[in-house]
Symmetry: C2
Protein backbone atom coordinates (compact mmCIF):
# COMPACT_ATOMS: atom_id res chain seq x y z
CA UNK A 1 0.00 0.00 0.00
CA UNK A 2 1.16 3.54 -0.71
CA UNK A 3 2.00 6.10 1.95
CA UNK A 4 -1.28 7.52 3.35
CA UNK A 5 -2.06 11.11 2.38
CA UNK A 6 -3.63 11.72 5.79
CA UNK A 7 -2.27 11.45 9.32
CA UNK A 8 -2.96 9.44 12.43
CA UNK A 9 -3.20 11.66 15.49
CA UNK A 10 -2.72 10.06 18.89
CA UNK A 11 -4.88 10.93 21.90
CA UNK A 12 -1.74 11.62 23.93
CA UNK A 13 -0.80 14.44 21.51
CA UNK A 14 -4.24 16.01 21.82
CA UNK A 15 -4.35 15.53 25.61
CA UNK A 16 -0.98 17.18 26.21
CA UNK A 17 -2.21 20.77 26.59
CA UNK A 18 -4.91 19.64 29.03
CA UNK A 19 -2.48 17.49 31.02
CA UNK A 20 -0.17 20.53 31.36
CA UNK A 21 -3.06 22.81 32.32
CA UNK A 22 -4.44 20.35 34.91
CA UNK A 23 -1.02 19.63 36.45
CA UNK A 24 -0.38 23.32 36.94
CA UNK A 25 -3.89 23.96 38.34
CA UNK A 26 -3.63 21.09 40.83
CA UNK A 27 -0.25 22.31 42.04
CA UNK A 28 -1.88 25.63 43.01
CA UNK A 29 -4.47 24.00 45.32
CA UNK A 30 -3.77 24.02 49.08
CA UNK A 31 -4.71 20.30 49.22
CA UNK A 32 -4.41 17.20 47.07
CA UNK A 33 -7.78 16.37 45.47
CA UNK A 34 -8.88 12.81 46.02
CA UNK A 35 -10.70 10.55 43.55
CA UNK A 36 -12.30 7.31 44.72
CA UNK A 37 -12.95 4.58 42.17
CA UNK A 38 -15.35 1.77 43.01
CA UNK A 39 -14.81 -1.60 41.41
CA UNK A 40 -17.86 -3.81 41.96
CA UNK A 41 -17.17 -6.58 39.45
CA UNK A 42 -14.42 -9.11 39.00
CA UNK A 43 -13.87 -8.52 35.26
CA UNK A 44 -10.08 -8.39 34.63
CA UNK A 45 -10.60 -5.77 31.88
CA UNK A 46 -12.31 -3.45 34.38
CA UNK A 47 -9.45 -3.96 36.82
CA UNK A 48 -6.87 -3.09 34.17
CA UNK A 49 -8.86 0.01 33.23
CA UNK A 50 -9.22 1.00 36.90
CA UNK A 51 -5.51 0.61 37.45
CA UNK A 52 -4.78 2.76 34.37
CA UNK A 53 -7.10 5.57 35.51
CA UNK A 54 -5.47 5.39 38.95
CA UNK A 55 -1.97 5.77 37.55
CA UNK A 56 -3.04 8.66 35.34
CA UNK A 57 -4.68 10.48 38.28
CA UNK A 58 -1.57 10.08 40.39
CA UNK A 59 0.83 11.14 37.64
CA UNK A 60 -1.11 14.40 37.30
CA UNK A 61 -0.98 15.17 41.04
CA UNK A 62 -4.24 13.71 42.31
CA UNK A 63 -4.74 11.15 45.04
CA UNK A 64 -6.50 8.04 43.82
CA UNK A 65 -8.04 5.32 45.92
CA UNK A 66 -9.40 2.14 44.36
CA UNK A 67 -12.02 0.41 46.50
CA UNK A 68 -12.92 -3.14 45.50
CA UNK A 69 -16.33 -3.73 47.03
CA UNK A 70 -18.94 -6.43 46.91
CA UNK A 71 -21.70 -5.31 44.55
CA UNK A 72 -24.25 -5.42 47.40
CA UNK A 73 -22.04 -3.07 49.43
CA UNK A 74 -21.64 -0.56 46.62
CA UNK A 75 -24.72 1.52 47.46
CA UNK A 76 -23.60 2.08 51.06
CA UNK A 77 -20.05 2.82 49.93
CA UNK A 78 -21.21 5.51 47.48
CA UNK A 79 -23.38 7.14 50.16
CA UNK A 80 -20.46 7.18 52.53
CA UNK A 81 -18.11 8.69 49.93
CA UNK A 82 -20.74 11.32 49.11
CA UNK A 83 -20.60 12.46 52.74
CA UNK A 84 -16.83 12.32 53.14
CA UNK A 85 -15.39 15.86 52.81
CA UNK A 86 -11.99 14.42 51.93
CA UNK A 87 -13.35 12.78 48.78
CA UNK A 88 -13.63 15.21 45.84
CA UNK A 89 -14.48 12.91 42.99
CA UNK A 90 -16.28 9.56 42.70
CA UNK A 91 -16.40 7.13 39.81
CA UNK A 92 -17.81 3.63 39.46
CA UNK A 93 -16.54 1.03 36.98
CA UNK A 94 -19.62 -0.32 35.26
CA UNK A 95 -21.19 -2.78 34.60
CA UNK A 96 -21.86 -3.92 38.17
CA UNK A 97 -25.26 -5.58 38.03
CA UNK A 98 -25.54 -5.04 34.29
CA UNK A 99 -29.13 -3.83 34.50
CA UNK A 100 -31.11 -0.79 35.56
CA UNK A 101 -29.69 -1.03 39.06
CA UNK A 102 -26.44 0.27 37.58
CA UNK A 103 -28.22 3.44 36.52
CA UNK A 104 -29.63 3.85 40.04
CA UNK A 105 -26.11 3.52 41.47
CA UNK A 106 -24.76 5.98 38.93
CA UNK A 107 -27.37 8.58 39.82
CA UNK A 108 -26.68 8.04 43.50
CA UNK A 109 -23.28 9.70 43.16
CA UNK A 110 -23.62 13.28 44.35
CA UNK A 111 -23.60 15.69 41.38
CA UNK A 112 -21.00 17.65 43.33
CA UNK A 113 -18.58 14.70 43.10
CA UNK A 114 -19.69 13.25 39.75
CA UNK A 115 -16.41 13.71 37.85
CA UNK A 116 -17.66 11.74 34.85
CA UNK A 117 -20.56 14.17 34.44
CA UNK A 118 -23.12 11.37 34.20
CA UNK A 119 -25.78 12.82 36.50
CA UNK A 120 -29.15 13.47 34.80
CA UNK A 121 -28.83 17.13 35.71
CA UNK A 122 -25.67 17.46 33.62
CA UNK A 123 -27.29 15.66 30.69
CA UNK A 124 -30.29 17.93 30.97
CA UNK A 125 -28.00 20.95 30.86
CA UNK A 126 -26.19 19.54 27.85
CA UNK A 127 -29.41 18.89 25.91
CA UNK A 128 -30.71 22.35 26.69
CA UNK A 129 -27.41 24.13 26.19
CA UNK A 130 -27.43 25.37 29.82
CA UNK A 131 -23.88 26.36 30.76
CA UNK A 132 -24.25 27.39 34.43
CA UNK A 133 -25.63 25.74 37.55
CA UNK A 134 -26.73 28.91 39.32
CA UNK A 135 -28.64 31.07 36.86
CA UNK A 136 -28.92 34.08 36.94
CA UNK A 137 -25.74 34.58 39.01
CA UNK A 138 -23.81 32.31 36.62
CA UNK A 139 -20.78 31.71 38.80
CA UNK A 140 -20.80 27.92 38.92
CA UNK A 141 -20.16 26.31 35.57
CA UNK A 142 -22.03 23.12 34.68
CA UNK A 143 -19.92 20.15 33.71
CA UNK A 144 -20.26 17.86 30.71
CA UNK A 145 -20.09 14.05 30.42
CA UNK A 146 -16.41 13.38 29.83
CA UNK A 147 -16.54 11.35 26.61
CA UNK A 148 -18.73 13.81 24.64
CA UNK A 149 -16.64 16.65 26.09
CA UNK A 150 -13.43 14.88 25.02
CA UNK A 151 -14.88 14.62 21.51
CA UNK A 152 -15.52 18.37 21.38
CA UNK A 153 -11.95 19.06 22.49
CA UNK A 154 -10.61 16.62 19.89
CA UNK A 155 -12.63 18.29 17.13
CA UNK A 156 -11.38 21.67 18.32
CA UNK A 157 -7.79 20.43 18.25
CA UNK A 158 -8.18 18.99 14.76
CA UNK A 159 -9.52 22.29 13.44
CA UNK A 160 -13.03 20.99 12.71
CA UNK A 161 -14.37 23.72 15.00
CA UNK A 162 -13.65 26.94 13.09
CA UNK A 163 -12.51 29.65 15.49
CA UNK A 164 -13.50 32.41 13.07
CA UNK A 165 -17.16 31.57 13.58
CA UNK A 166 -18.97 32.87 16.63
CA UNK A 167 -18.67 30.85 19.84
CA UNK A 168 -21.52 28.34 19.97
CA UNK A 169 -21.63 28.16 16.16
CA UNK A 170 -18.20 26.88 15.23
CA UNK A 171 -19.41 23.69 13.56
CA UNK A 172 -21.73 25.61 11.22
CA UNK A 173 -21.81 23.80 7.87
CA UNK A 174 -20.11 20.62 9.11
CA UNK A 175 -21.69 17.20 8.56
CA UNK A 176 -20.93 14.61 11.21
CA UNK A 177 -21.88 10.94 11.36
CA UNK A 178 -22.03 9.35 14.84
CA UNK A 179 -22.30 5.56 14.80
CA UNK A 180 -23.64 4.94 18.33
CA UNK A 181 -26.73 6.37 19.97
CA UNK A 182 -26.20 5.31 23.57
CA UNK A 183 -27.59 7.50 26.32
CA UNK A 184 -24.09 7.84 27.78
CA UNK A 185 -22.24 9.04 24.68
CA UNK A 186 -23.88 8.83 21.23
CA UNK A 187 -27.11 10.73 21.80
CA UNK A 188 -25.67 13.50 24.00
CA UNK A 189 -22.73 13.85 21.61
CA UNK A 190 -25.05 14.30 18.63
CA UNK A 191 -26.98 16.97 20.53
CA UNK A 192 -23.82 18.76 21.64
CA UNK A 193 -22.43 18.94 18.10
CA UNK A 194 -25.83 20.02 16.72
CA UNK A 195 -25.99 22.77 19.36
CA UNK A 196 -22.67 24.04 17.98
CA UNK A 197 -24.09 24.27 14.46
CA UNK A 198 -23.33 20.87 12.88
CA UNK A 199 -25.74 18.65 10.99
CA UNK A 200 -25.36 15.33 12.79
CA UNK A 201 -26.45 11.98 11.41
CA UNK A 202 -26.91 9.56 14.28
CA UNK A 203 -26.85 5.89 13.35
CA UNK A 204 -27.87 2.97 15.50
CA UNK A 205 -29.01 -0.55 14.73
CA UNK A 206 -32.56 0.69 14.01
CA UNK A 207 -32.30 3.79 11.86
CA UNK A 208 -30.62 7.10 11.06
CA UNK A 209 -31.71 10.26 12.80
CA UNK A 210 -30.71 13.79 11.91
CA UNK A 211 -29.86 16.25 14.71
CA UNK A 212 -29.76 19.95 13.89
CA UNK A 213 -29.80 23.01 16.06
CA UNK A 214 -33.39 23.64 15.03
CA UNK A 215 -35.10 26.99 14.89
CA UNK A 216 -36.37 26.87 18.43
CA UNK A 217 -33.61 28.96 19.93
CA UNK A 218 -35.86 30.00 22.81
CA UNK A 219 -36.04 26.40 23.97
CA UNK A 220 -32.28 26.23 23.52
CA UNK A 221 -32.30 22.73 22.22
CA UNK A 222 -31.59 20.75 19.12
CA UNK A 223 -34.11 19.18 16.76
CA UNK A 224 -34.30 15.48 15.90
CA UNK A 225 -35.78 13.99 12.69
CA UNK A 226 -36.08 10.31 11.80
CA UNK A 227 -34.72 9.68 8.32
CA UNK A 228 -36.37 6.71 6.70
CA UNK A 229 -36.18 7.33 2.99
CA UNK A 230 -33.64 5.76 0.64
CA UNK A 231 -31.99 9.16 0.25
CA UNK A 232 -30.81 8.93 3.82
CA UNK A 233 -29.31 5.47 3.76
CA UNK A 234 -25.85 5.08 5.25
CA UNK A 235 -24.54 4.61 1.69
CA UNK A 236 -25.85 8.03 0.80
CA UNK A 237 -25.01 9.89 4.01
CA UNK A 238 -21.54 8.62 4.97
CA UNK A 239 -19.58 9.79 1.89
CA UNK A 240 -20.90 13.35 2.40
CA UNK A 241 -19.70 13.63 5.98
CA UNK A 242 -16.74 15.75 7.09
CA UNK A 243 -16.39 13.69 10.26
CA UNK A 244 -17.21 10.05 11.09
CA UNK A 245 -17.23 9.02 14.76
CA UNK A 246 -17.77 5.41 15.84
CA UNK A 247 -18.40 3.70 19.14
CA UNK A 248 -19.74 0.23 18.43
CA UNK A 249 -18.98 -2.08 21.39
CA UNK A 250 -17.92 -5.05 19.28
CA UNK A 251 -14.56 -6.02 17.83
CA UNK A 252 -16.38 -7.69 14.95
CA UNK A 253 -18.06 -4.50 13.73
CA UNK A 254 -16.08 -2.62 11.09
CA UNK A 255 -17.32 0.57 9.49
CA UNK A 256 -17.32 0.08 5.68
CA UNK A 257 -14.12 1.76 4.47
CA UNK A 258 -15.54 2.22 0.97
CA UNK A 259 -18.18 4.64 2.32
CA UNK A 260 -15.53 7.01 3.70
CA UNK A 261 -14.54 9.86 1.35
CA UNK A 262 -10.90 10.80 1.03
CA UNK A 263 -9.87 13.34 3.63
CA UNK A 264 -12.64 12.63 6.17
CA UNK A 265 -11.84 13.11 9.87
CA UNK A 266 -12.29 9.68 11.48
CA UNK A 267 -12.51 9.05 15.24
CA UNK A 268 -13.00 5.76 17.09
CA UNK A 269 -14.00 6.34 20.71
CA UNK A 270 -14.27 2.88 22.27
CA UNK A 271 -11.44 0.45 22.85
CA UNK A 272 -13.02 -1.80 20.17
CA UNK A 273 -11.38 -1.05 16.84
CA UNK A 274 -14.27 -0.14 14.51
CA UNK A 275 -12.11 0.50 11.45
CA UNK A 276 -9.99 -1.67 9.19
CA UNK A 277 -6.36 -0.61 8.79
CA UNK A 278 -7.22 0.48 5.25
CA UNK A 279 -8.97 3.51 6.78
CA UNK A 280 -5.58 5.21 6.91
CA UNK A 281 -5.58 5.33 3.11
CA UNK A 282 -8.84 7.29 3.20
CA UNK A 283 -8.95 9.37 6.38
CA UNK A 284 -7.58 12.90 6.46
CA UNK A 285 -7.03 12.83 10.22
CA UNK A 286 -7.56 9.52 12.04
CA UNK A 287 -7.81 9.31 15.82
CA UNK A 288 -7.81 5.57 16.67
CA UNK A 289 -8.66 5.97 20.37
CA UNK A 290 -9.49 8.79 22.75
CA UNK A 291 -8.99 7.46 26.32
CA UNK A 292 -6.21 9.88 27.29
CA UNK A 293 -8.31 12.87 26.31
CA UNK A 294 -11.33 11.47 28.17
CA UNK A 295 -9.47 11.09 31.44
CA UNK A 296 -8.09 14.61 31.07
CA UNK A 297 -11.66 15.83 30.80
CA UNK A 298 -12.60 13.82 33.90
CA UNK A 299 -9.87 15.57 35.89
CA UNK A 300 -10.77 18.91 34.36
CA UNK A 301 -14.35 18.29 35.55
CA UNK A 302 -12.99 17.52 39.02
CA UNK A 303 -11.18 20.87 39.14
CA UNK A 304 -14.38 22.58 38.11
CA UNK A 305 -16.38 20.76 40.81
CA UNK A 306 -13.80 21.83 43.40
CA UNK A 307 -14.01 25.41 42.13
CA UNK A 308 -17.81 25.33 42.37
CA UNK A 309 -17.53 24.05 45.95
CA UNK A 310 -15.24 26.96 46.86
CA UNK A 311 -17.74 29.42 45.36
CA UNK A 312 -20.59 27.91 47.38
CA UNK A 313 -18.50 28.06 50.58
CA UNK A 314 -17.60 31.70 50.01
CA UNK A 315 -21.20 32.63 49.25
CA UNK A 316 -22.41 30.83 52.41
CA UNK A 317 -19.85 32.71 54.53
CA UNK A 318 -20.91 36.07 53.09
CA UNK A 319 -24.57 35.53 53.94
Amino acid sequence: MSQPAGRTILASTIAKQYVDEITSEVAKLPFKPKVVGFLGNSDPASKTYASWTGKTCESLGFEYELQEVDKYELEASIISANKDDNVHGIMVYFPVFGDKQDQYLQQLISPEKDVEGLNFMYYHNLYHNVRFLDSPTNEQKSILPCTPLAMVKILEYLGVYNKHLHYGNRLYGKKVLVVNRSEIVGRPLAALLANDGATVFSLDINNIQKFTRGDDLLMQRHKVTDLDSEEYSLEHVAPQCDVIITGVPSDKYKFPTELVSNGTVVINFLSCKNFEDAIKQKAGLYVPSIGKVTISMLLRNLLRLINNREIRKKNAENK
Copy 2:
Protein backbone atom coordinates in the same frame (compact mmCIF):
# COMPACT_ATOMS: atom_id res chain seq x y z
CA MET B 1 -34.08 38.87 7.99
CA SER B 2 -32.67 37.13 11.00
CA GLN B 3 -29.13 37.54 12.29
CA PRO B 4 -26.75 35.50 10.09
CA ALA B 5 -25.24 32.40 11.70
CA GLY B 6 -22.00 32.97 9.82
CA ARG B 7 -19.56 35.86 9.72
CA THR B 8 -18.23 38.31 7.18
CA ILE B 9 -14.44 38.53 7.32
CA LEU B 10 -12.79 41.61 5.84
CA ALA B 11 -9.63 41.42 3.74
CA SER B 12 -8.02 44.02 6.02
CA THR B 13 -8.35 41.63 8.98
CA ILE B 14 -6.72 38.81 7.04
CA ALA B 15 -4.00 41.09 5.62
CA LYS B 16 -2.96 42.47 9.00
CA GLN B 17 -0.36 39.84 9.88
CA TYR B 18 1.23 40.20 6.44
CA VAL B 19 1.20 44.00 6.61
CA ASP B 20 2.98 43.80 9.99
CA GLU B 21 5.49 41.26 8.69
CA ILE B 22 6.22 43.27 5.53
CA THR B 23 6.55 46.58 7.39
CA SER B 24 9.09 45.09 9.76
CA GLU B 25 11.05 43.36 6.94
CA VAL B 26 11.24 46.56 4.87
CA ALA B 27 12.48 48.53 7.87
CA LYS B 28 15.44 46.14 8.11
CA LEU B 29 16.62 46.79 4.55
CA PRO B 30 19.52 49.25 4.01
CA PHE B 31 17.50 50.92 1.20
CA LYS B 32 13.90 51.76 0.36
CA PRO B 33 12.59 49.34 -2.29
CA LYS B 34 11.02 51.06 -5.25
CA VAL B 35 7.96 49.94 -7.21
CA VAL B 36 7.14 51.50 -10.57
CA GLY B 37 3.58 51.28 -11.83
CA PHE B 38 2.88 51.97 -15.49
CA LEU B 39 -0.48 53.39 -16.47
CA GLY B 40 -0.97 53.16 -20.21
CA ASN B 41 -4.69 53.79 -20.50
CA SER B 42 -6.99 56.65 -19.59
CA ASP B 43 -9.63 54.59 -17.76
CA PRO B 44 -10.55 56.48 -14.53
CA ALA B 45 -11.05 53.12 -12.73
CA SER B 46 -7.45 52.10 -13.50
CA LYS B 47 -6.24 55.47 -12.24
CA THR B 48 -8.14 55.05 -8.97
CA TYR B 49 -6.75 51.55 -8.58
CA ALA B 50 -3.21 52.75 -9.37
CA SER B 51 -3.50 55.51 -6.80
CA TRP B 52 -4.75 53.01 -4.18
CA THR B 53 -1.85 50.61 -4.80
CA GLY B 54 0.55 53.57 -4.60
CA LYS B 55 -0.79 54.70 -1.23
CA THR B 56 -0.64 51.15 0.14
CA CYS B 57 2.97 50.71 -1.00
CA GLU B 58 3.99 53.96 0.62
CA SER B 59 2.16 53.29 3.87
CA LEU B 60 4.11 50.03 4.21
CA GLY B 61 7.49 51.71 3.68
CA PHE B 62 8.04 51.30 -0.06
CA GLU B 63 8.72 53.99 -2.62
CA TYR B 64 6.11 54.07 -5.35
CA GLU B 65 6.33 55.89 -8.66
CA LEU B 66 3.37 56.06 -11.02
CA GLN B 67 4.37 56.67 -14.63
CA GLU B 68 1.58 57.64 -16.98
CA VAL B 69 2.87 56.79 -20.44
CA ASP B 70 1.47 56.70 -23.93
CA LYS B 71 0.69 53.11 -24.83
CA TYR B 72 3.18 53.20 -27.69
CA GLU B 73 5.91 54.26 -25.27
CA LEU B 74 5.17 51.51 -22.76
CA GLU B 75 7.49 48.90 -24.29
CA ALA B 76 10.51 51.22 -24.13
CA SER B 77 9.58 52.31 -20.59
CA ILE B 78 9.43 48.70 -19.35
CA ILE B 79 12.83 47.89 -20.93
CA SER B 80 14.32 50.95 -19.31
CA ALA B 81 12.86 50.04 -15.87
CA ASN B 82 14.14 46.47 -16.28
CA LYS B 83 17.67 47.88 -16.58
CA ASP B 84 17.39 50.45 -13.80
CA ASP B 85 19.06 49.06 -10.65
CA ASN B 86 17.06 51.46 -8.51
CA VAL B 87 13.76 49.89 -9.57
CA HIS B 88 12.95 46.69 -7.62
CA GLY B 89 9.43 45.96 -8.74
CA ILE B 90 7.45 46.71 -11.91
CA MET B 91 3.74 46.48 -12.50
CA VAL B 92 1.52 47.47 -15.42
CA TYR B 93 -2.17 48.38 -15.11
CA PHE B 94 -3.92 46.39 -17.80
CA PRO B 95 -5.72 46.51 -20.21
CA VAL B 96 -3.50 48.72 -22.37
CA PHE B 97 -4.16 47.56 -25.94
CA GLY B 98 -6.76 45.06 -24.81
CA ASP B 99 -5.40 42.29 -27.04
CA LYS B 100 -2.47 39.91 -27.22
CA GLN B 101 -0.04 42.79 -27.23
CA ASP B 102 -0.86 43.19 -23.53
CA GLN B 103 0.46 39.71 -22.92
CA TYR B 104 3.66 40.54 -24.79
CA LEU B 105 4.13 43.63 -22.61
CA GLN B 106 3.43 41.60 -19.48
CA GLN B 107 6.04 39.00 -20.36
CA LEU B 108 8.53 41.76 -21.17
CA ILE B 109 8.80 42.65 -17.48
CA SER B 110 11.94 41.01 -16.14
CA PRO B 111 11.04 37.99 -13.95
CA GLU B 112 13.41 39.47 -11.39
CA LYS B 113 11.14 42.52 -11.01
CA ASP B 114 7.77 40.87 -11.74
CA VAL B 115 6.11 41.54 -8.36
CA GLU B 116 2.73 40.32 -9.57
CA GLY B 117 4.25 36.91 -10.42
CA LEU B 118 2.73 36.90 -13.91
CA ASN B 119 5.75 35.68 -15.86
CA PHE B 120 5.24 32.36 -17.67
CA MET B 121 8.11 30.91 -15.69
CA TYR B 122 6.26 31.49 -12.42
CA TYR B 123 3.07 29.95 -13.83
CA HIS B 124 5.05 26.97 -15.05
CA ASN B 125 6.49 26.52 -11.57
CA LEU B 126 3.02 26.79 -10.06
CA TYR B 127 1.51 24.18 -12.39
CA HIS B 128 4.39 21.81 -11.75
CA ASN B 129 4.63 22.48 -8.05
CA VAL B 130 8.24 23.71 -8.40
CA ARG B 131 9.11 25.80 -5.35
CA PHE B 132 12.67 26.99 -6.10
CA LEU B 133 14.32 28.81 -8.99
CA ASP B 134 17.76 27.26 -8.63
CA SER B 135 17.38 23.50 -8.29
CA PRO B 136 19.26 21.62 -6.88
CA THR B 137 20.79 24.35 -4.67
CA ASN B 138 17.28 25.53 -3.70
CA GLU B 139 18.25 28.90 -2.26
CA GLN B 140 16.08 31.18 -4.38
CA LYS B 141 12.37 30.67 -3.80
CA SER B 142 10.01 30.93 -6.75
CA ILE B 143 7.18 33.41 -6.43
CA LEU B 144 3.48 32.92 -7.10
CA PRO B 145 0.95 35.09 -8.97
CA CYS B 146 -0.39 37.36 -6.26
CA THR B 147 -4.15 36.72 -6.57
CA PRO B 148 -3.94 32.89 -6.38
CA LEU B 149 -1.37 33.28 -3.60
CA ALA B 150 -3.69 35.67 -1.74
CA MET B 151 -6.42 33.05 -2.00
CA VAL B 152 -4.19 30.40 -0.42
CA LYS B 153 -3.36 32.76 2.44
CA ILE B 154 -7.04 33.57 2.92
CA LEU B 155 -7.96 29.88 3.02
CA GLU B 156 -5.14 29.30 5.51
CA TYR B 157 -6.39 32.17 7.69
CA LEU B 158 -9.97 30.87 7.59
CA GLY B 159 -8.86 27.41 8.72
CA VAL B 160 -9.75 25.65 5.46
CA TYR B 161 -6.13 24.52 5.23
CA ASN B 162 -5.78 22.04 8.10
CA LYS B 163 -2.42 22.47 9.79
CA HIS B 164 -2.52 18.94 11.21
CA LEU B 165 -2.16 17.49 7.73
CA HIS B 166 1.28 17.32 6.14
CA TYR B 167 2.53 20.41 4.35
CA GLY B 168 1.50 20.22 0.70
CA ASN B 169 -1.59 18.19 1.60
CA ARG B 170 -3.53 20.50 3.86
CA LEU B 171 -6.62 20.71 1.66
CA TYR B 172 -7.01 16.92 1.57
CA GLY B 173 -10.71 16.10 1.47
CA LYS B 174 -11.88 19.65 0.72
CA LYS B 175 -14.17 20.38 -2.22
CA VAL B 176 -13.75 23.80 -3.79
CA LEU B 177 -15.73 25.45 -6.59
CA VAL B 178 -13.92 28.18 -8.57
CA VAL B 179 -16.20 30.20 -10.84
CA ASN B 180 -13.61 31.68 -13.28
CA ARG B 181 -11.05 29.89 -15.39
CA SER B 182 -8.93 32.79 -16.61
CA GLU B 183 -5.26 32.15 -17.28
CA ILE B 184 -4.36 34.88 -14.78
CA VAL B 185 -6.33 33.60 -11.78
CA GLY B 186 -8.95 30.85 -12.18
CA ARG B 187 -6.94 28.09 -13.86
CA PRO B 188 -3.72 28.53 -11.83
CA LEU B 189 -5.78 28.83 -8.64
CA ALA B 190 -7.57 25.54 -9.37
CA ALA B 191 -4.20 23.84 -9.99
CA LEU B 192 -2.67 25.32 -6.84
CA LEU B 193 -5.53 24.12 -4.63
CA ALA B 194 -5.52 20.69 -6.31
CA ASN B 195 -1.76 20.42 -5.71
CA ASP B 196 -2.51 20.93 -2.01
CA GLY B 197 -4.97 18.03 -1.98
CA ALA B 198 -8.35 19.61 -2.76
CA THR B 199 -10.86 18.43 -5.34
CA VAL B 200 -11.50 21.57 -7.35
CA PHE B 201 -14.46 22.12 -9.64
CA SER B 202 -13.60 24.82 -12.14
CA LEU B 203 -16.56 26.48 -13.84
CA ASP B 204 -16.50 28.74 -16.86
CA ILE B 205 -19.08 29.68 -19.45
CA ASN B 206 -18.45 26.43 -21.38
CA ASN B 207 -18.28 23.59 -18.85
CA ILE B 208 -17.15 22.26 -15.48
CA GLN B 209 -13.72 20.70 -15.10
CA LYS B 210 -12.43 18.77 -12.14
CA PHE B 211 -8.86 19.38 -10.95
CA THR B 212 -7.28 16.83 -8.63
CA ARG B 213 -3.72 16.18 -7.63
CA GLY B 214 -3.72 13.10 -9.81
CA ASP B 215 -1.61 10.03 -9.32
CA ASP B 216 1.29 11.21 -11.41
CA LEU B 217 3.37 12.48 -8.52
CA LEU B 218 6.56 12.12 -10.56
CA MET B 219 5.29 14.72 -13.00
CA GLN B 220 4.39 16.85 -9.97
CA ARG B 221 1.27 18.16 -11.54
CA HIS B 222 -2.47 18.09 -11.13
CA LYS B 223 -4.94 16.19 -13.31
CA VAL B 224 -7.82 17.78 -15.20
CA THR B 225 -11.04 16.03 -16.26
CA ASP B 226 -13.92 17.50 -18.24
CA LEU B 227 -17.21 16.79 -16.52
CA ASP B 228 -20.07 16.63 -18.96
CA SER B 229 -22.62 14.39 -17.40
CA GLU B 230 -25.76 15.52 -15.59
CA GLU B 231 -24.22 14.34 -12.32
CA TYR B 232 -21.71 17.14 -12.53
CA SER B 233 -24.05 20.01 -13.24
CA LEU B 234 -23.55 23.14 -11.15
CA GLU B 235 -26.81 22.26 -9.35
CA HIS B 236 -25.27 18.99 -8.24
CA VAL B 237 -21.74 20.17 -7.52
CA ALA B 238 -22.19 23.52 -5.76
CA PRO B 239 -24.16 22.33 -2.68
CA GLN B 240 -21.44 19.75 -1.92
CA CYS B 241 -18.62 22.28 -1.86
CA ASP B 242 -16.85 23.43 1.31
CA VAL B 243 -15.64 26.56 -0.46
CA ILE B 244 -17.07 28.64 -3.32
CA ILE B 245 -14.80 31.23 -4.95
CA THR B 246 -16.06 33.59 -7.66
CA GLY B 247 -14.40 36.02 -10.04
CA VAL B 248 -16.87 36.83 -12.77
CA PRO B 249 -16.05 40.24 -14.29
CA SER B 250 -19.63 41.46 -14.48
CA ASP B 251 -21.79 43.27 -11.95
CA LYS B 252 -24.82 41.55 -13.44
CA TYR B 253 -23.65 38.02 -12.67
CA LYS B 254 -24.86 36.69 -9.34
CA PHE B 255 -24.03 33.21 -8.11
CA PRO B 256 -27.32 31.42 -7.29
CA THR B 257 -27.68 31.72 -3.50
CA GLU B 258 -29.98 28.68 -3.38
CA LEU B 259 -27.11 26.41 -4.50
CA VAL B 260 -24.95 27.39 -1.52
CA SER B 261 -25.20 25.06 1.48
CA ASN B 262 -25.34 26.53 4.96
CA GLY B 263 -21.90 27.08 6.39
CA THR B 264 -19.99 27.22 3.10
CA VAL B 265 -16.88 29.43 2.93
CA VAL B 266 -17.63 32.04 0.24
CA ILE B 267 -15.02 34.32 -1.36
CA ASN B 268 -15.48 36.94 -4.08
CA PHE B 269 -12.14 37.97 -5.60
CA LEU B 270 -12.96 40.67 -8.14
CA SER B 271 -14.33 44.10 -7.40
CA CYS B 272 -17.60 43.02 -9.10
CA LYS B 273 -19.98 41.75 -6.45
CA ASN B 274 -20.89 38.20 -7.56
CA PHE B 275 -23.20 37.46 -4.62
CA GLU B 276 -26.55 38.77 -3.48
CA ASP B 277 -26.71 40.14 0.07
CA ALA B 278 -28.72 37.05 1.01
CA ILE B 279 -25.47 35.05 0.83
CA LYS B 280 -24.78 36.19 4.40
CA GLN B 281 -27.70 34.04 5.56
CA LYS B 282 -26.03 30.98 4.02
CA ALA B 283 -22.26 31.44 4.17
CA GLY B 284 -20.23 30.26 7.14
CA LEU B 285 -17.40 32.68 6.46
CA TYR B 286 -17.90 35.30 3.73
CA VAL B 287 -15.02 37.31 2.31
CA PRO B 288 -16.59 39.95 0.04
CA SER B 289 -13.32 41.23 -1.48
CA ILE B 290 -9.64 40.37 -1.28
CA GLY B 291 -7.70 43.39 -2.66
CA LYS B 292 -5.86 44.17 0.58
CA VAL B 293 -4.55 40.64 0.83
CA THR B 294 -3.52 40.63 -2.85
CA ILE B 295 -1.42 43.77 -2.51
CA SER B 296 0.23 42.35 0.61
CA MET B 297 1.23 39.32 -1.46
CA LEU B 298 2.58 41.61 -4.19
CA LEU B 299 4.83 43.33 -1.65
CA ARG B 300 5.77 40.00 -0.10
CA ASN B 301 6.80 38.85 -3.59
CA LEU B 302 8.87 42.01 -3.93
CA LEU B 303 10.75 41.22 -0.71
CA ARG B 304 11.38 37.71 -2.00
CA LEU B 305 12.68 39.05 -5.34
CA ILE B 306 15.03 41.39 -3.45
CA ASN B 307 16.21 38.49 -1.32
CA ASN B 308 16.85 36.36 -4.42
CA ARG B 309 18.88 39.24 -5.90
CA GLU B 310 21.04 39.41 -2.77
CA ILE B 311 21.66 35.66 -2.97
CA ARG B 312 22.73 35.94 -6.61
CA LYS B 313 25.06 38.84 -5.78
CA LYS B 314 26.68 36.93 -2.93
CA ASN B 315 27.11 33.80 -5.06
CA ALA B 316 28.70 35.85 -7.87
CA GLU B 317 31.17 37.45 -5.42
CA ASN B 318 32.17 34.05 -4.02
CA LYS B 319 33.01 32.65 -7.43
